[in-house]
Symmetry: C2
Subunit: 357 residues, 2 copies
């Protein structure tokens, strides 16, 4: 996987440089909002989405430099959804640093001397606005790709696609993710997978299809090879999210960048939790239920949760499902022309399955 990591790093650096040098945030006032708009996109992370977009363009014979701006746009698009998700999920950490609303809350407390309640409201309010600006920044960048030689009609079509299908599916997925814990009846595994398709899959599918569309100068998203690319990304997204759920319980707190057990804190019915509930006896189910929605998770609670998921076989079942989707995602690539970029896409499945951060 050496090459994969190097290529991921290289794609991340190209996109990171473009984002850091982009003047869009300069006009934002006040300064703390401007910094908040820049923060996540500049913070980096794996930047899988831009890499997927660029490699898909390359895999279909396109000029990768032509889609750099669109790749930066989807990275920023992903980041605005994270800013709003982090408010909704009440998360404090993102990539090992304070989430946007938490950073703004700290700013309000230290610089504006607000009391705790006002600072918290200020952090939330400004984080809502920061995400709103980022959604627009992303679209602006995408629309500017006409300057990179992408035909105007194709730019219009891609921008419409991200504003319609992608936005609707992604936000609906997020909304269902918020709603599931409150439903009287636990959702089925199929419903959870459908939610993941929206929340994680929709934008990955957009990435690969946008890259491919620029390479081919075609918008035939439902025909080969864009259809197969889309299927690859959707399956990859589900595998990615299942592994994310796994790491959310079994990951190393210092490496994962997010608090361990936050899904349990929010009472989210992940595949991991549903599998465990199906497999545990009455006593085990009660023990697991008693570990949901706690205020905080210390070593004891984390160990208990891990033990329940492991002994019930739910951990294994979740990882097996992730492996199945990763395998299917690789198979969807078979009809694509062989080459360096196809290899990279294919290796991503293996990497995602084996990752520990």
């Amino acid at each position: 996987l050496e090459t994969l990591f190097e290529e991921l790093k290289s794609a991340s650096e190209m996109v990171g440089a473009l984002i850091s040098n982009d003047s869009f945030p300069c006009g934002v006032e006040p300064a703390c909002l401007r910094e908040a708009v820049r923060a996540y996109p500049a913070r980096g992370g794996k930047r899988l989405r831009p890499a997927l977009l660029m490699w898909s363009c390359g895999a279909l014979g396109g000029d990768v430099t032509k889609v750099l701006r669109i790749a930066a746009a989807v990275e920023i698009y992903h980041n605005w959804t994270l800013v709003h998700d982090d408010i909704i999920d009440g998360d404090s950490l993102r990539r090992g640093l304070p989430t946007t609303h938490k950073a703004l809350e700290a700013h309000a407390a230290s610089e504006l001397k607000l009391d705790a309640a006002s600072a918290s409201a200020y952090g939330r309010d400004f984080a809502i606005l920061a995400g709103d600006v980022q959604q627009a920044w992303s679209l602006d960048l995408m629309l500017r790709s006409v300057d990179d030689g992408v035909p105007g009609w194709l730019v219009n079509s891609l921008a419409r696609r991200i504003c319609s299908a992608v936005n609707r599916e992604l936000i609906s997925g997020e909304a269902l993710d918020v709603e599931f814990p409150f439903r009287a009846q636990t959702p089925s595994k199929d419903e959870v997978v459908k939610m993941l398709c929206g929340k994680t899959g929709a934008i990955l599918k957009f990435c690969v299809q946008a890259g491919g569309a620029v390479a081919l100068e075609s918008c035939a998203f439902d025909a080969s090879p864009l259809r197969e690319l889309g299927e690859f990304a959707m399956k990859l997204g589900i595998a990615f999210q299942l592994i994310d759920d796994h790491l959310g319980v079994f990951g190393e707190p210092s490496e994962f960048g997010k608090p361990i057990c936050s899904d349990l804190r929010e009472g989210k019915p992940t595949i991991l939790v549903i599998e465990a509930m199906e497999r545990l006896d009455a006593e085990g189910r009660e023990r697991l239920k008693s570990l949901l929605r706690l205020k905080s998770y210390g070593d004891a609670e984390i160990s208990s949760a891990r033990e329940l998921f492991r002994s019930s076989g739910a951990e294994r079942a979740n990882l097996d499902l992730a492996a199945k989707y990763a395998e299917e995602s690789k198979s969807a690539l078979l009809t694509l022309p062989d080459g360096r970029f196809k290899t990279l896409l294919s290796e991503l499945s293996a990497y995602i399955l084996g990752r520990n951060v």
Copy 2:
């Protein structure tokens, strides 16, 4: 003003029909989020922005039906900012009905049986997402105007303009509006007017310039006549907001559609408040300060506030400033060709100055 009202109503109905028939929200899940996405755009209100856009197009000789979709797009754009503003301002009423987050909170309490705190969080979270979808819906509609015969390069340029300058200025204005009450030093009147230019003026300016740009098939926003149209709208926006601040204190609760004194509740340094603080003696200033940031405003508090604003001359000063901007906005139209649409634009200034809802 008979004709103005009829034309406003006619523009509102055309845009309302387009919005109601648009299939964009159909794909949004769950149903309560879909309803929230539709609610404000369907709720109507004055729909000044679409009218401004259509009349500006007409005033420069353009085909008004060509910009209907762009007019609907700015109306939805305005509405997503209201959905997020209402969360931020903690407002309960919008156009006489529950705000989006309040309606969703009620849904969560009655349908999902959530307790008060969870229902409130649910309402807020889903309202964030509803605004996010609406921002995308607005852009999608605008991008679809290529189907109405607007040239692709012009659609791209307008979409970029609303995603860059307009979004940045509008959100920065909103952020400053949130931040001002927390500043150690009260902002100056110039700073408040600058904030209003962003919060209210930027999108009005976009409306008239977009309408004019389609009529002329030109993007020369800084040259005559788009420059003058922009100045007209910016001045009109400031006048509009100053009257809004006035009605926020002196309006009829049953007609205004928003709670009276909500600016005082949030401690906002409106021009009205700054003028009063400058004009009152020490005792009067203390009385006014004691009327800021209360939990609720009954008849006694509303009467006291009105008396202070009136006796100090602040009410008059605020209305005079609004009249000055309304007059300047009309003057900016002088160089435009005479005709029915120019008359309508010009009458809008008078209407806005005299409105009581």
